[in-house]
């Protein structure tokens, strides 16, 4: 295991400390239990948006706390959903009386822990509505699985939900818009290498030099299939093929195209893949109206990428464009 870390047990905590120190103007990191809130405190009169998940996905979720997007984030242990007490404290800290939306990625652990936290919050008279993201087309949503995973679609989902709250929408509206993103966003990922959970010290799986894993999740889980490494164009066609046919995205659709690195993928490869994806979509008459390229939802140091496509309407586009100011996403101010 090659990492720049101290005690493997303290990785998530020390990274959070760094996040808090580097961005003290934007956010405040709380410990025991761990959660991140905006530096300014609750957003008076507005719906609060809270998310979280395991650590090891940085900049998710703490890096998205700030104006125009999340009010609080709750990081669990590495690749482990947070516990209800963390989520409860974050929810209480974020709540401004207009209700709280829990943005939950669809994993058994996250669902259960957020469920418990929501019950506890309701008991303290905070209205909580969960919205669940399950954008990963690599997993078939059937009675034979825990349902699709929530993966990189989280970034536009956070952004647009947060922008709806920021413009003063009421709880029902924020939830409707958030669910509209879920209904219109699809993602699929792949990995060139596995990642190593610090306390485990062993890679999550082993790929030969000429192999890649298709349909990977964001926790170093093995994916849908292991195949020979091919060209960027072929990889993009595989990922986008599944994504496009799933919704389906159609000729004339206006989309946001998001090429996400898994943590160890350099910018040069992501932009190369983005170019390939643009070409693929142009051939099918699908318009790319907005773009995002970078390591935004990672799996530790894994090399690989996911491609996300979100079908945009005018309102979603406007909410995507609205100002945001966080460590990981910033524009308009």
């Amino acid at each position: 295991m090659k990492k720049i870390i101290n005690d493997p047990a303290n990785v998530a905590r020390e990274a959070l400390q760094g996040l808090g120190e580097a961005h003290a103007d934007l956010l405040t990191v709380h410990f025991d239990p761990n959660f991140v809130t905006r530096a300014g405190g609750p957003d008076t009169g507005k719906v609060a948006v809270v998310s979280g998940g395991g650590s090891g996905h940085e900049p998710l979720a703490g890096g998205y706390v700030g104006e125009g997007i999340l009010h609080a984030a709750v990081p669990g242990a590495v690749f482990t959903s947070p516990t209800p007490d963390q989520i409860l404290d974050a929810t209480k800290a974020a709540d401004a009386g207009a209700g709280v939306v829990h943005l939950v990625l669809n994993y058994t652990g996250d669902i259960l822990n957020f469920e418990t936290a929501a019950e506890l919050a309701e008991a303290e008279d905070i209205k909580v509505v969960p919205v669940i993201l399950d954008d990963d087309v690599a997993v078939k949503d059937s009675t034979y699985t825990a349902g699709r995973r929530g993966v990189a679609g989280a970034i536009p989902w956070y952004k647009i939900t947060g922008a709806s709250a920021a413009r003063g929408d009421d709880l029902d509206t924020v939830v409707e818009i958030s669910r509209r993103v879920v209904a219109n966003v699809r993602t699929m990922g792949m990995a060139l290498t596995a990642c190593t959970v610090p306390h485990s010290g062993e890679p999550s799986f082993v790929l030969e030099d000429d192999e890649m894993e298709i349909g990977i999740g964001v926790h170093g889980e093995p994916g849908r299939e292991r195949v020979k490494l091919t060209s960027a164009d072929e990889i993009v066609a595989t990922l986008l093929g599944s994504v496009v046919e799933d919704l389906p995205f159609e000729r004339g659709d206006k989309t946001l195209l998001f090429v996400n690195g898994m943590g160890g993928t350099p910018s040069v490869e992501l932009y190369l893949a983005y170019h390939s994806a643009r070409t693929y979509l142009a051939e099918r008459g699908i318009e790319v109206a907005r773009s995002l390229v970078g390591n935004y939802f990672t799996s530790l140091e894994m090399q690989g990428m996911s491609i996300t496509l979100l079908k945009l309407d005018d309102e979603l586009t406007e909410l995507w464009d609205a100002p945001v100011h966080t460590p990981a996403l910033r524009w308009g101010r």
């Binding site: 239990p33 395991g54 669990g76 242990a77 590495v78 690749f79 482990t80 959903s81 947070p82 516990t83 209800p84 007490d85 994993y107 058994t108 652990g109 259960l112 822990n113 469920e115 418990t116 690599a138 997993v139 078939k140 009675t143 034979y144 699985t145 825990a146 995973r149 959970v197 306390h199 485990s200 062993e202 999550s204 799986f205 999740g217 926790h219 170093g220 889980e221 093995p222 849908r224």
Partner: protein, 213 residues
């Protein structure tokens, strides 16, 4: 042999020791079909449980189990945190304020625990989860209690059945939890949660058996 609060504390401490001892093995199993944290999750939770037990002396078996439940819920996270938390919480509620557990009360507690896991996680037997260890455990416990077993004997029967149930998850295809994402590729690997359930039961049974000494 009695099974009072002290025995239950000893059993929980034994479970904690088992979680620590098998941490690497459980994590390895979870790496194969999950995300490689199950051992770490349980070890973290039970370390916190031991710290709580060192600092307080719950007076009834139910109070011990409730302390375990709340501690696991607030320290484990993941799928197993709320599921084990619910299991211990439901067991505590089910056994009420009894100061000692007999075989029948152990069956009551175990049944409530299993039912709680099913209620929260919605897994059925055969889905390749901890339910596949807990369900045979409950059946074996009931049988042992019917034939007059005391708390320790009932727990021991439950642990044996849980071990077999865990073993039997290997050929199954997962339909719940992270392993389900793998589809057919989950076949051929033992479920980490079923394995931990059997290890925890074994440790508690052994401690309960020695507990009166």
């Amino acid at each position: 042999m009695t099974c009072d609060a002290g025995t239950v504390v000893a059993a929980v401490r034994a479970a904690a020791a088992a979680a620590a001892e098998h941490k690497t093995e459980l994590t390895r199993l979870d790496r194969e079909i999950g995300d490689g944290d199950h051992g770490e999750n349980l070890a973290r939770g039970f370390t916190a449980v031991v710290a709580k037990l060192d600092a307080s002396a719950p007076e009834t078996p139910a109070a011990v189990l409730k302390l375990v439940a709340t501690t696991l819920i607030s320290t484990v996270g993941g799928a197993s945190g709320p599921l084990y938390g619910t299991a211990f919480l439901r067991a505590a509620t089910a056994i009420g304020d009894a100061s000692e557990l007999d075989g029948a009360l152990v069956v009551t507690g175990l049944t409530a625990a299993r039912d709680g896991v099913v209620a929260r996680g919605k897994a059925e037997p055969g889905d390749k989860t901890m339910v596949d260890a807990l369900t045979p455990a409950v059946q074996a416990a009931a049988a042992a209690a019917d034939s007059g077993g005391d708390a320790a004997a009932v727990l021991s029967a439950a642990a044996d059945a849980a071990a077999e149930g865990a073993e039997a998850t290997t050929p199954l295809q997962a339909r719940k939890g992270r392993a389900s994402y793998l589809g057919e590729r989950s076949i051929g690997h033992r479920d980490p949660g079923a394995t931990s359930a059997s290890l925890l039961l074994r440790a508690m049974a052994d401690a309960a058996a020695g507990g009166g000494a």
